[in-house]
Amino acid sequence: MTTSLPKKIWIYFLLISTSFLVFFPVMYAFLISFMTGPELLQGKFLPQSFSLDNYIKVFDRLPLLNYLLNSFIVSVSVMLGQLAVCSLAAYAFVFIHFKGRDFIFFLFISTMMIPWEATMIPNKFTIQKLDWLNTYQGLTLPFFALAFGTFLLRQHFKTIPKELHEASQIAGLSKFAFFRRVILPVSKTSLVTLGAYGFLTTWNMYLWPLLITTNKSVRTVQIGLKQLQSQETGTEWGVVMAGVIVVIIPTLLLLFLGQKQLQKGLSQGALK
């Protein structure tokens, strides 16, 4: 496949200019994060020096390390929980024939029609009654079951040859052993996709942690950002941006590493 040179130049021009625009806010935040108050007021675009003062300050002002750790624990827990719960359900839908399968499948689909913002009021009271406010389980458990994740894995499980199932039965493998020792290993790519997706969405979650955390014990980093932004006024924006950069680095790294995988996996889940 050959592309003519003028066309190539034209495409590169579009690629460079639009990706600059898309990435601009992040670059801007990065540059601001090194600026002092006076520099900001002068309206400089480049900082005088790349000193880490703002980064040191932000860790002083906010228990940021604590929040980062909380976000990490919560995201990893939801990721693992989703992988376990969704893969078990997907296995049942693909490899076990049972009465009422269609009905239960329909129930799963119907959960996708219910926006969870519409159910947040009773959910908050459930967590409150369980005495789970400000706990990790309150932040994570409601998100373990995920219809989208179940479908994603179901799509992949369906491509596994039926012969493998029959062979395992002849070999005398129990259902659970077949699931754990055969299905999970051959589905690694889908599991990684779902895992990355679960981690990313949980790390970025905002409304639920806002409702469930009332003190800093398990508060996540996203709520920390809101706190930081409302604390800092005037010319301390450099410190705020340092906080922003610290918060987005883990997910940006994850995205850069897994972009290809995520794109393939998610678009496969989108199509039946």
Binding site: M241, V244, V247, S267
Partner: protein
């Protein structure tokens, strides 16, 4: 006889019982955190509630008729509608444009793909804080740019005329990464051979785009339109950080309105009625999408 039949039934239902074991975690969690609260929300929407969110006085449909007459709620619905209209079409067209560019097989294309998808890795809270600064009246980039061009300054987030638009611009940016990633995936699933035969026929780029790419991409487009619509109705974080629903309630989108009504004003009855409205809107959008989609979408 019965004692002989029993093992038969026991054995017949063996598969069902095993399946149940595998499905139990999901079913349990869905029951507690999706189905129960949905019914509970509908139930509460017919009551006046006390501080603890328990039903106190039955009022029938009064919460709903109150909402329909309240200018605040009608404004909130209008703002939500406009917000969806501003963000979804432009967001998808931009993402599609970037995906088409990034689908060209050129050197270094991987770098551009990463950049376009990057906003997916940036949380709503972080993005909102960045945009809050860019919109800052005195120090922000936008007003600095305007003053460089000798144009009048704009109170981006403080002017009721501009606030919703400003929030929409930042939201479009936040959502581009995800839409781009899905659309690029869709483009890459299109069979190369389709293009090869058309190239022999001498068809131009835009002809191929209209006749091959877009029809073949339609299932993905349909998926991303549905998801984007639903996401737009559920927006919350950017409102909480950028405007808190203001100025003069011009950005009081529905989820933010529910949040305020429930957790700031403690009016759980009317908040539940709003939540039910949100549920119905999303249900209708999904059903409409599928009805229209079935006719329009070209499946391979």
């Amino acid at each position: 006889m019965t004692s002989l039949e029993k093992p038969g039934i026991w054995k017949k239902t063996a598969n069902g019982r095993t399946a149940l074991l595998y499905l139990l975690p999901s079913i349990l969690l869905f029951s507690v955190f999706v189905f129960y609260p949905m019914f509970r929300t509908i139930y509460l929407s017919f009551f006046l509630t006390d501080q603890n969110g328990d039903a106190a006085i039955w009022v029938g449909f009064e919460n709903y008729s109150y909402l329909l007459e309240s200018t605040a709620f009608i404004n909130s619905m209008k703002a939500t509608g406009l917000f969806v209209l501003y963000t979804v079409p432009i967001g998808i067209v931009l993402a599609l444009f970037f995906a088409l560019l990034a689908n060209e097989k050129l050197k270094g294309i991987g770098f551009f793909r990463t950049v376009y998808s990057s906003t997916m890795g940036i949380s709503v809270a972080a993005s909102s804080v960045i945009w809050l600064f860019m919109f800052n009246p005195s120090m922000g980039m936008f007003n600095r740019l305007l003053s460089l061009l000798n144009l009048p300054q704009i109170q981006w987030l403080l002017d009721p005329q501009w606030a919703l638009l400003s929030v929409s611009i930042s939201t479009i940016w936040m959502n581009i990464g995800f839409s781009f990633l899905i659309l690029l995936g869709g483009l890459q699933n299109i069979d190369e051979h389709l293009y090869e035969s058309s190239r022999i026929d001498g068809a131009g780029y835009f002809y191929r785009l209209r006749r091959i790419t877009l029809p073949m991409l339609s299932p993905t487009l349909f998926f991303i339109i549905t998801i984007s619509l639903i996401n737009a109705f559920q927006s919350f974080g950017q409102i909480d950080i950028l405007t808190q629903g203001g100025p003069s309630a011009s950005t009081n989108l529905i989820v933010y309105s529910i949040y305020r009504e429930a957790f700031i004003n403690y009016q759980f009855g009317t908040a539940s009625a709003q939540a039910v409205t949100l549920f119905i809107i999303i249900l209708v959008v999904t059903i409409l999408q599928f009805k229209l989609g079935e006719r329009r979408v070209h499946y391979q």
